[in-house]
Every structure is written in structure tokens, then in C-alpha cells.
Symmetry: C2
């Protein structure tokens, strides 16, 4: 299959508070240079270089984030920015993009990617996407990538793999036995020991026909209103009423025709500040810095820093802290209490909502 | 004696790195709102309200800080800003101001104050200055204020008091037996136990005649070139060659005619970030914030924060930190290691001098 039939869908509508104060309502994580010099959404598109040019990349986001997409991806054709009137999780997002691609090329294979994950090396990832596209076309299946676990993670969903269905170059396509929600520690250890469970990387690959058929079967309440509305007309009316459901749960889980390709290079969903040491270079004392700023560390160990270009953070004799400087706000917190940042965010929602 | 004969000299030429990154070369501590809403030099002048109006306040600083003085004290008459071509410690500064005041009012009593100390209540301080002025005029002595120690401080110089020489209202003027440099812990404990030692507050009060006589006797190498140079002409030539000596050491110590007035209200030289809890209100968890910024603390205790107006610092579950946000730089450091900040400053002198 020629690459010209590949379209990519980058899901860039997410929001969240785990990267406050660097991420705000108006600029969530995917628009920040969390794990590189460019915003994560730009890194995600750059990772496709040589496989899918921007002309065939659709970026889906919400209306209040459209400006951030344009700023991060100035080369993206205007028609390739799909704006959701409101966020409704990933199933409506996937359906919206699937219908748009169907209009452009009914024979296309669609690669669906989160905007805010780190996956590398990019060349290996592109090879996996090519293999997944081949599997999608071969079997008409919904294909996903599964990351071989390296530790008993409790923060990721898992995929249990079945028999090998086909080989595509160096990749094996397995049947999917089931999707499993985030497990507790004990089950995560069982999964790791069993060797037949993979992390769900949130990447989906399928032909246009396959995804529309699956949506029609498992999520007609989402697909039908979008088909009726067309791309621009009436989206405002139908979208708010759509079921807010993840594509995994609404479509992948109930489907029977699913393949998974195991991959074993670096993947990280960068779910929190504490993920940064996994995706950034560390200095000799285990400190890392994101965002383009400079770190001067004296006797400081294992800290995670975020600061903007031209900004300087000096850490003296501190250990295991998250230190974030962003706009008019900053945060200092121990790494192992980073989840408590939501307490600050909750207080700000009441006391100083302009800081969110 | 009428208050009209009182002149104040505010010494605002100091520099230092202990308040980096809030203080920079171009804006040392006395120009920051470290312990109030206004720059410390403005608070120092405000403390004189009702005793010495700005028309009789001289501010001495170095050429590169003159703009900061004007910004902090827009009402200060231009002729009252004395600019030292280079800093030469306090003896030349005192001599320069003494000569200028001698030209304006040879009968004046001069009150010499550091620009960057906290002393309160202001009313009590003004009463002490009035008493010191009375003592200066009565005896023709060099008068100083001595703070009754409340703990065995090793960071301050001490004054050993002798007999009572006179009473001025509620104040006693004592003879000064000797000045003592910063003691070690054991001697500081002895001083505290003895009850006859006071902290040297760095405040001097004397008649114009007395200080010029003392300078002529003990520091002719400083006074004579300044007298020869006149106020503006030739200062550039003579100043760099002057001996850089503290007034205490060069003049007060060798003098015989010295009085000290004990005071027992709050005085603090705010020598480091760790002094801030002594001069600022604390929240219920012992945190304090200076600089006009906002602090949101969740489970955070005993931290010292500096941030500018409109800025927000969120601290979650951290304890005993100094957290400073200033311009394009920030610092995070345990309070008990605040002296190690100089290591950062030394590195920046080599690597990024624009951040100093």
C-alpha cells in the first residue's frame, strides 16, 4: 500500500490540571514544550515526517484551543483543523475525523494519535505505523499498538494479546483477547509476569471503512448525528448532546476484529511532572529541565524543573522537588506529592480563577 | 533643641548577593519591598515622618544606583541625592554627607541611618533619635543606638556599655566602653548573660562639629581629600583613592567621646532571606511572603517566599524553604542553607553574568 493513502488524526482537545501552572485552561499540556523544544502537538506531527505530511494530518481540538493549534502548527492547512464545539472524550473526536477523511479518501487508512505522548525513536514508530496500516488493510481490523511493559504500571490500561495473526516486516500482529482498565499493583505484577499483556498506547489504526462500520455497530448514537450534521453545519447543535465516551471503551472493547502490534521502544504518556525524568535527559545529579529554561543546580538532586526560554531556576541543596515557573505563577512541591497539586487548583478555582 | 536642626543621612549604597535573585547588581536589597509595601529605603525615610522631612534627608548612594533612589523616593529634592563615584564603605559616605550638611547648617545634628534595616515602632524610634540628638548636643559626643540583645546573636557587632552619663526623657545615655566585632557563640552567650552588651544598630547621631572633629582626628586621610574636592568638583578624582573603611571602625572605635542609648524595641538588619520571618507576619503554618506577591500554601510550613505584585507562588507539602521569584530568575533553597546561594552567584558570575 502506498503511503499516500495514510491520513493521521491528532487528538489535541485534552485538558487537565496535572501540569498546572505550566498548563492552564487556555494552554493545556499538548501546547507546551514539555518533552522537547516544541509544543508536544508539534513534536507529534514531526514524528510523522516522511510518513504523513501535514496536508494529510487532521488535528481535532476544542474551539478555545484552536488558536493554540494554529500557533503550534502554522503550516497546518486551515481545513485540517477540526474544531469540536465542546469536548466529548475520544469517541466523538474519532468519529468526526473519520467522517472527514471518508469525504477526502474513502480508501484511506487512518492513524489516530494522542497529541501529548512521547514515543521514540520516531523512525521505529513510523515503521510500526506502516506495519499497523498494513494489518488494518489486510484484515479490515481495528489495529492498536501495545507497549511491552517494563514495570508493573498501575497508571496505564492493558491489552491481553492472543495468537499471532500475521507478520508485517519485523512486526507481529496479534489478536486482542481483551482490554483491561488500570489494574491495582498486584494485578499489574501478574500482567508483567504473564508476559501476554501490553500497555495500551492510545494509538489506533484502521481503514475508513472499518472504523465507520465499527462506529455504526457500537456507537450509532455518536456516528449518526455527526453524519447528519455534516462537517460544519449543525455541529454546534448535535455535539453537546453526544455521549462522552473514550473510543477504547465505546468501540475497541466491544469490537471483535481487533489486532495489536507489540512495540518495545520508548513510549510515555507523560501523565504528570514526575514523568519528565523518563523522557528528558538528566544531569549528573538526576535533575531535568523542560520548557526551554535554564537550570543552575548546586548540591541539588533528582529535581524536575519547568521554566520558559530565557528564564533561570537556581536550586541549592534541595532534593526530589517539582519546581515549575510559568507566566505569573509558580509551584514548588515534592515529586511524591505532585498529585496534591489538585488541592491548589481547587482553591484557585474558588479564590483566583484567573490563575488557572 | 528644635527639630529644624535635624538632618538625616540615609546610607543607600550597599550591594550584596544574599538576596539574589530578588536583589541584583542593579537593584540591591534597599530598593526592594523586602519588609513592607515600599522599597526599604522609602520605609526608612517614612520612619522619620514628623521628625525629619525629606527636605532635610540626604541619601548617599553610588552612581549606578542613583536611578533606583529617584524611583523609590520621587519626592526627594535632587540636591539631596549624594552620589559616590565608587563605593568605599561607610566612613567616606559619612564624611561626604557631613561636609554637605556643614555647608547647609553648621549647627545641625546629623542622624545617620542604614537604608535597609527594619526598626519599629517608628514612633519609639523617633523618640530615641530625639533623645540621641539631645545627647549629641549636650555632650558633643558621637552617639549611637544599642539594641538590647534577645538571643546570643553571632551575626551582629556589640557595644559594651559603661556608666549612665545623662537621661533624656525615658532614655539613658551610657558611656561606651568598647565596640566588639561579631563574636563566636560562646562569647555571644557571655555578652547576653552579662547584660552590659548591646547590638550595634548602625545608627549614628552627632553634631556637625563633633563628627568633623572626629573625622579630622581619626580619618584625616578620608576627610581632607573630600574637603579639598568640594561637593561636586573633583569627587571623581579623589573618591577611588579613599580608604574603604567602616565608620564604626575608622572613627567610632578610636574616639573617646561616645555615648550609647539602649533601645528595646524591634530592630532587624534583615541580613538574609531567613530574617524575613522576624519582620513579616506569618500565616498559621509559619509561612511568610514578601514583595507584594500572593502565596497559596497547602500543607506547606515555615517557608519564606518573595514574589512580585500579581505573581502567585503555590507551595504544596514543602517545609523550611526559601522560594524567590524575581524577574527572569528564581531560587529554591532550604532556609538553613541560604548561605550557599553564593555558590550559585559565583557560578553565574562566570556563566551568566546578565542574571546577577
Amino acid at each position: 500500500m502506498s503511503d499516500e493513502r495514510l491520513y493521521a488524526v491528532v487528538m489535541a482537545g485534552g485538558s487537565g490540571t496535572r501540569f498546572w501552572p505550566a498548563s492552564r485552561r487556555a494552554r493545556p499540556k499538548q501546547f507546551l514544550p514539555i518533552a522537547g523544544d516544541r509544543p508536544m502537538v508539534a513534536e507529534t506531527c514531526a514524528r510523522l515526517a516522511g510518513l504523513v505530511p501535514l496536508e494529510r494530518v487532521l488535528v481535532v481540538t476544542s474551539g478555545d484551543l484552536a488558536g493554540e493549534v494554529r500557533a503550534a502548527l502554522p503550516e497546518l492547512p486551515a481545513a485540517n483543523l477540526l474544531v469540536e464545539p465542546v469536548g466529548r472524550n475520544t469517541a466523538p473526536c474519532v468519529a468526526l475525523a473519520a467522517l472527514e477523511i471518508a469525504r477526502r479518501d474513502p480508501e484511506a487508512v487512518q492513524l489516530v494519535l494522542p497529541a501529548d505522548h512521547v514515543i521514540e525513536p520516531a523512525e521505529a514508530f513510523r515503521a510500526s505505523l506502516r506495519a499497523a496500516a498494513a494489518e488494518a488493510r489486510r484484515a479490515g481490523r481495528l489495529v492498536t499498538l501495545g507497549v511491552r511493559p517494563t514495570f508493573p504500571a498501575t497508571g496505564y490500561g492493558y491489552i491481553e494479546v492472543g495468537d499471532v495473526l500475521a507478520r508485517h516486516g519485523a512486526h507481529e500482529a496479534h489478536d486482542v483477547l481483551r482490554f483491561v482498565e488500570k489494574p491495582d499493583e498486584a494485578r499489574a505484577r501478574e500482567f508483567l509476569a504473564a508476559g501476554t499483556f501490553l500497555w495500551n498506547a492510545g494509538v489506533f489504526v484502521y481503514t475508513t471503512a472499518a472504523v465507520l462500520a465499527a462506529l455504526r455497530e457500537h456507537a450509532p448514537d455518536i456516528l449518526a448525528p455527526l453524519e447528519a450534521a455534516g462537517r460544519a453545519t449543525g455541529l454546534e447543535e448535535v455535539y453537546p448532546a453526544l455521549r462522552a465516551a473514550p473510543f477504547d471503551v465505546a468501540v475497541m472493547e466491544p469490537s471483535r476484529a481487533r489486532s495489536v502490534l507489540p512495540i518495545d521502544y520508548a513510549w510515555n504518556d507523560v501523565g504528570a511532572w514526575t514523568s519528565l525524568p523518563e523522557v528528558l535527559p538528566l544531569d549528573a545529579d538526576g535533575n531535568c529541565v523542560a520548557g526551554g529554561g535554564a537550570l543552575v543546580a548546586e548540591g541539588a538532586r533528582d529535581n524536575v524543573v519547568f521554566a520558559g526560554p530565557g528564564e533561570l531556576v537556581a536550586l541549592v541543596d534541595v532534593e526530589g522537588l517539582v519546581v515549575v515557573r510559568a507566566g505569573d505563577a509558580m509551584l514548588v512541591c515534592p515529586k511524591d506529592r505532585a498529585q496534591d497539586v489538585r488541592r491548589v487548583v481547587e482553591r484557585l478555582q474558588r479564590e483566583a480563577p484567573d490563575k488557572l
